[in-house]
């Protein structure tokens, strides 16, 4: 028996789950289990209570309403990957998911689980930041919304109260002509990124950059939005030289050291990842104009 002893609950509704979370001490929510289960098997975590969300159907959905796409926290990564609506409206999600684990883990892994686990290099966290997502959290007092930019409080620490649960994320749909790019450097396919970069680009009628968004993942404890690069790119005609020039700033950020990779190396490759993501996004946007 690998996981430590715990008491197990499988509520049928989100309110029931929130109620359990508010009433139980040292409880953990179990979403797709692709991070919590390894931690339980290795006994890195020893919760007294595990609240399994896998039998709460109301938390798994993808809906478009008034220019926004709302995704339930328990939506499987696989369902996002194969959703025609997500592919059309939010192509960055598919581009990022291609790097998330493996088919076997995406079949179980959920978007809410990944966001709340908040690994510094998790692709979906970087993607949510790039898309200006809003987090919908529910507690005993009801729901509140917060910007994805305010969601990470620090290393693997989401801005949720102990009795709050992420129930959905809400993403504004970017203009149809926008391009998306996601690249990363990892030692093996499916590993967490050493550095990743996500970008979206909107072009104006003259083919210049109306709006660029650039976020680096894996560099610091949470994704870094590169606002300076975004501002510098606005109004420019997209070109490899322009991207390379402005992405130099990505080499001057704070970067983490870990057991395998130094901060110096992360700073070295961050500008390359950033440039490639922007080039990919620009090519994607230009291909849509041509089509």
């Amino acid at each position: 028996m690998k996981p430590p002893p715990f008491r197990y609950y499988d509520p049928q509704t989100a309110d029931e789950a929130v109620g359990l979370l508010a009433s139980l001490e040292n409880a953990k929510l179990l979403a797709g289990g692709q991070s919590l289960m390894p931690m339980l098997n290795m006994r890195f975590v020893q919760p007294d209570h595990v609240i399994d969300l896998n039998r709460v159907p109301e938390l798994a959905f993808i809906r478009e309403e008034a220019g926004r796409i709302r995704i339930g926290a328990m939506t499987r990564q696989r369902d996002l990957e194969f959703s025609p609506l997500v592919a059309e409206r939010l192509p960055l999600i598919g581009a990022g998911l291609h790097h998330v684990g493996h088919r076997q883990t995406r079949n179980r892994g959920t978007i809410g689980g990944s966001l709340c686990h908040l690994d510094p290099a998790a692709e979906l966290v970087t993607v949510a930041m790039t898309l200006d997502a809003e987090i919908v959290a529910r507690g005993p007092q009801g729901e509140r919304r917060l910007a994805m930019a305010e969601f990470p409080l620090g290393f693997m620490t989401p801005a949720l109260e102990l009795d709050e649960m992420l129930v959905a994320i809400d993403i504004p749909v970017p203009p149809a002509g926008h391009g998306a790019g996601f690249v990363e450097m990892a030692r093996r396919h499916g590993d967490f990124a050493i550095v990743s970069a996500a970008a979206t680009i909107e072009l104006d009628g003259a083919g210049r950059i109306a709006r660029a968004v650039l976020v680096l993942g894996g560099v610091d404890v949470s994704p870094l939005r590169m606002g300076e690069v975004e501002e510098a790119l606005a109004g420019q005609a997209p070109s490899a030289a322009i991207f390379a020039d402005h992405c130099r700033l990505c080499g001057a950020v704070e970067a983490m050291d870990d057991a395998l990779v130094s901060g110096t190396y992360r700073r070295r490759i961050a500008p390359v990842m950033a440039r490639r993501a922007l080039e990919q996004a620009a090519r994607h946007a230009m291909a849509k104009v041509a089509a």
Partner: protein, 172 residues
């Protein structure tokens, strides 16, 4: 807490009903029992192998509701009411091997065989969803299954031999 007199505490032990390889199994299990250990220890279906036990190696991959999943990363209670297919369900005793397994044997797609049950469930899903995968598709699908002795060349060759395009290959 007096033996059989005690009512079962559902937060600690559960009665579950899981369909494994088309047979319904009912059992009372500890809630912390993983699906992998339920298959191996409770049902004695030891074809599903357990390597790393934290979701990295892929040896314990089974199909749950038709989708591959790491059985070390699921609790047995989570499989309650679901249908699971393991390596034992992919062939029938006394019958010829199904084409995928025969192809693996023909192309030296296995050596020690430890990773093979997970590779077969992974490839079963791949070929069901994408009947003509490219070499890259095959390799990406296998990226979640670690094989440390055979190497992947023979496994990829085995899959390729089953594709509709295989007959058109020029053989020297």
């Amino acid at each position: 807490m007096i033996g059989a007199e005690r009512a079962m505490d559902e937060a600690e032990r559960r009665l579950i009903s899981v369909t494994v390889n088309e047979v319904v199994h009912r059992a009372e299990v500890d809630v912390r029992l993983t699906l992998a250990d339920f298959l191996r220890h409770t049902l004695q279906l030891t074809g599903t192998h357990v390597g790393c036990e934290h979701g990295v190696c892929g040896a314990c991959t089974v199909l749950v509701g038709g989708h591959t999943a790491r059985s070390c990363l699921m609790l047995a209670v989570q499989a309650h009411g679901h249908s699971v297919v393991t390596i034992e369900g992919l062939s029938t005793e006394g019958q010829p091997l199904p084409p995928l397994q025969q192809a693996l044997a023909d192309h030296h797609g296995l050596q020690c065989g430890f990773c093979t049950p997970g590779i077969l469930t992974t490839l079963t899903e791949l070929l069901r969803d994408n009947p003509s995968p490219s070499d890259e598709d095959i390799r990406v699908a296998l990226s979640g299954n670690i094989c440390r002795c055979t190497g992947y060349q023979g496994i990829v060759a085995a899959v390729r031999s089953l594709l509709p395009s295989a007959g058109r290959e020029v053989r020297g």
